[in-house]
């Protein structure tokens, strides 16, 4: 029985459960159960300054767009802003946005959880390869997916097309954390359920699924915010959403005030969604599933369902990965505007890698203290910090970009239209992605290790450096890879904030499609997807 700390770390909840029978003879005190386990739940400890200060900096950073929105929305007085927001159309668009969000989140949960379960828990042939394939759609920008579908079947335009394109690029946000959580669930629990007379599906629904809830909710939140903030797919699919209304407001009226007022509504929605996600965590949030188990789970034989499972995985991979790549291949070989500029392509690809890497690095560094506090500390302050990181995530890129324009020309003029500012924009946009990954990674490391390090003479920052970060490193790195991918795909903020003359694959793609030369755009799209596929592939292989 190799009972290693790495294998053993269990959540507060789980260890409480495990020790309960042992202490049952000593009876008593169920009501004080929670306080008794304060040791693990870390009640009542304030985060050390070494975390708190940088976390506050990160949170303030993420709140910059909100400050800008407040200035702009109230420019003509609250009355005007209210008139814009109180329009009947606002409610209508809100409904449409939320409807799309709900459908995409639900579909992503179905895809993400089913694939995670099939690849982690069953004897699916080629499980590892499927697992990687289920991560690769991350590399596909939503506008490329939407374009691929539209060019193949123009009639998908509208709600269905938008939901389809968005689901197929965002379900890995659910798949990744759920697969990690599934690997951490002790198979003994499922065996216990089976022995108690529940079949595989009942066991999945009653034992496994509830434990996946925090992971699935976290992934679902990222999907929801992604959908709310997306402009590329919905505009190509001509499905009217809030984001599209904000863009239209900029585009057609050259007026920033109504756009800002509408953006505030998006922020309110974000806060509501984040709060809802925090609620689903509940106690389970800290009763996270462990890193590994003493014993690897025996893969569930699929039996006669095997062809069906393979068909399902194959179908998802076909529509989410093969199809967009196939469309690009078609464009690569069609049309006369395909004048291949390999040198330019390589330069652009290199620049894209650089700026995305810098973005991922800064985002990860900023996310680290927030993620650690979110994982290790409870209470309103910790919650606020984490929620602040999410606040601007549902805002369309153009709004975030304009807010940085606003602040940079006033307070950081030397940085304006320089690379560092663009990198900062990525950090503001994608902080939640990295925070979520960091938080999950830190939760994997048992907090008692930090106590031990303190008792052995380490100061809080030394504990962070020598214990928490090394233990969370693989998960943090996974978060960095994910951030890297989303930075590579980013378009609206890049357009506004890039140094004059600089191009990324995404802006190049925009330029070429804007000129109507899809064949010339295809190499950039292909390069973007292939480059983003590398970290996605690593993510798919990464076993938290």
């Amino acid at each position: 029985m190799p009972n290693t700390p790495r294998a053993a770390p269990r959540s507060a909840g789980a260890s409480a459960l495990a020790s309960a029978p042992a202490e049952a003879s000593a009876a008593a005190g169920r009501g004080r159960f929670r306080t008794f386990h304060a040791f693990r739940t870390r009640t009542g400890r304030r985060p050390p300054l070494v975390l708190l200060v940088p976390a506050c900096v990160a949170a303030l950073f993420a709140l910059l767009p909100l400050g800008y929105l407040a200035v702009r929305a109230l420019e003509r007085g609250p009355g005007y802003a209210w008139d814009v927001v109180a329009d009947a159309r606002t409610l209508h668009l809100l409904g449409r946005s939320l409807g799309l969000t709900a459908v995409v989140v639900a579909a992503s949960l179905v895809l993400g959880i089913s694939l995670a379960w099939l690849t982690v828990r069953t004897a699916l042939p080629g499980a590892r390869a499927w697992s990687v394939l289920a991560t690769l759609p991350l590399a596909v920008p939503s506008y490329v997916a939407a374009f691929a579908w539209l060019s193949a079947e123009p009639s998908v335009a509208g709600f269905g097309g938008a939901a389809l394109a968005l689901t197929l690029v965002s379900f890995p946000y659910v798949h990744l954390p759920v697969a990690a959580a599934l690997r951490g669930i002790d198979p003994a629990q499922e065996e216990a359920s089976r022995s108690l007379g529940h079949g595989p599906s009942a066991t999945f629904l009653r034992v496994t699924l509830p434990q996946l809830r925090p992971a699935a909710a976290g992934g679902g939140l990222l999907v929801a915010l992604y959908v709310l903030s997306d402009f590329g797919a919905v505009s190509l699919m001509r499905y009217d959403t809030f984001t599209r209304a904000i863009h239209t407001s900029y585009r057609a009226s050259f007026d920033r005030t109504p756009a800002a007022a509408l953006s505030v509504v998006l922020v309110v929605m974000t806060v509501a969604l984040v709060a809802a996600e925090t609620r689903t965590r509940g106690r389970a949030g800290h009763a996270r599933t462990g890193t590994g188990t003493a014993r690897p789970a025996v893969p569930l034989p699929l039996g006669r369902y095997r062809p069906l499972a393979l068909l399902w995985c194959g179908a998802v991979a076909a529509v989410a990965v093969v199809f967009p790549l196939g469309t690009l291949a078609y464009w690569l070989t069609a049309g006369s505007s395909a004048a291949w500029d390999l040198g330019g392509l390589a330069d652009t690809a290199w620049a894209t890698l650089g700026v995305a890497a810098a973005g991922a690095a800064l985002t990860t560094v900023l996310a680290l203290p927030v993620g650690v506090i979110a994982a290790r500390h409870r209470g309103r302050g910790a919650r606020l910090l984490e929620q602040a990181a999410y606040a601007g995530h549902a805002l369309p890129g153009i709004t975030v970009a304009l807010s940085l324009v606003f602040f940079a020309v006033r307070y950081a003029y030397p940085l304006y239209q320089q690379l560092p500012l663009l990198v900062c924009a990525y950090a503001v946009l994608f902080l939640p992605v990295a925070v979520a990954a960091t938080r999950a990674a830190v939760l994997q490391a048992p907090p008692v290790l930090e106590d031990v390090a303190r008792s052995l003479g380490r100061r809080p920052w030394q504990v962070l450096r020598e214990v928490t970060v090394p233990l969370a490193a693989p998960g943090v790195a996974a978060g960095a890879a994910l951030t890297f991918v989303v930075c590579m795909k980013e378009l609206p903020a890049t357009l506004l904030l890039r140094p004059t003359g600089m191009d990324t694959l995404a802006t190049r793609l925009w330029t070429e499609t804007g000129a109507g030369s899809f064949a010339a755009a295809a190499p950039y799209a292909a390069a973007l997807i292939l480059l983003a596929a590398v970290p996605s592939y690593l993510l798919g292989r990464h076993r938290t």
Binding site: L150, P154, S235, L236, R238, D240, T248, Y250, R251, A252, S253, F254, D255, R256, G335, S336, S337, W350, A351, G354, A356, A357, A358, A361, T364, I398, L402, V405, F406, V409, R410, P414, Y416, Q417, Q418, L419, A473, P474, A477, A478, A481, F484, P492, L495, L496, P499, T500, G501, M502, T507, T511, E512, G514, A515, G516, S517, P535, L538, H542, R543
Partner: protein, 349 residues
Amino acid sequence: MRRPLAGRITALVAAGLLLPALAACGSDDDGSSQGKGGDSALVIYSGRNEKLVKPLLDKLEKAVGTKVEVRYGDSAELAAQLLEEGERTKAGLFFSQDAGALGSLSKEGMLAKLPQTHLDKVDKAYRSGDGDWVGTSGRVRVIAYHPDKVAEGEVPDSVHDVVKPEWKDKVGFAPTNASFQAFVTGMRVLEGDDATRKWLKALKDNGAKTYAHNLATLDAVESGEVSLGLINHYYWYERVAEKGEEKVGAKLHFLPGKDPGALINVAGVGILTNAGQSEAAQKAVDFLLSKEAQTYFADETKEYPLAAGVTSTVEGLPPFDSLESPDIDLGKLESLQETLAMLQDVGLV
């Protein structure tokens, strides 16, 4: 077994992040030194697509004689950016895809008055009434049609006809496209809000299909998804240049009789007051109105030249003089707010 793998992946990711990031920082230094040394450089914000105008702007750099830095983007987003930058903008010149974006800057007083000599090169109809921007090339709204579905003689001569029952479900247009919105604004100016609203409602009720942009509309006409498409003329000519006319499954119809559907809109330039680059910027405007640039617009972007006496030589393109477009002050197209509200009311955007 797991740790080494995890460690390797971590190391790989770290290396993968650090290497290009360092490279980026390195190149950033180059960029900033360029920026600082480039006081004399002319910065152009171009809402016109790089693919269309980069060769021209390369020539412009030679003509102006100073270094030129071009920032490409969407006209409206660049306008929003310029408004946000205010007096601290680095842009000396704004090269816009349409008059509306220029109008919004003009309204905020961010554009400098142009020398009369420049203004006079262009017909009054295609420049700012306040003299702070000038059109550089023109495009005309046309109806594209699928020749197998519509005989040449049956194509409507007025946008008022496309809302008739015979075209039910057969018309395509791009409601979010700036040119379409400019056309609607033009219609409002010409025929009044009530008539325009009625027309938009009729268009919607007639099952007209909406597309993301003019190109998508043209695609739909080519594929026969719709029979008619309301677009700008040059999209068709560009496609013909790319694929050859016989391969393009759509034809164009120019509307006669000063129909609002035959609106001519322009791409234009304005000089930013505060960037301190007005000398270079004026040279640039000069160049854009020169014979060389005007010929470029005619030949390469298939637009109508507006100055220097250049006429388009594109095959099949009706002469500019022959266009029967409505008389309208393009300066009045700058505020699209009401148009937008109307489109929203009707439910088209």
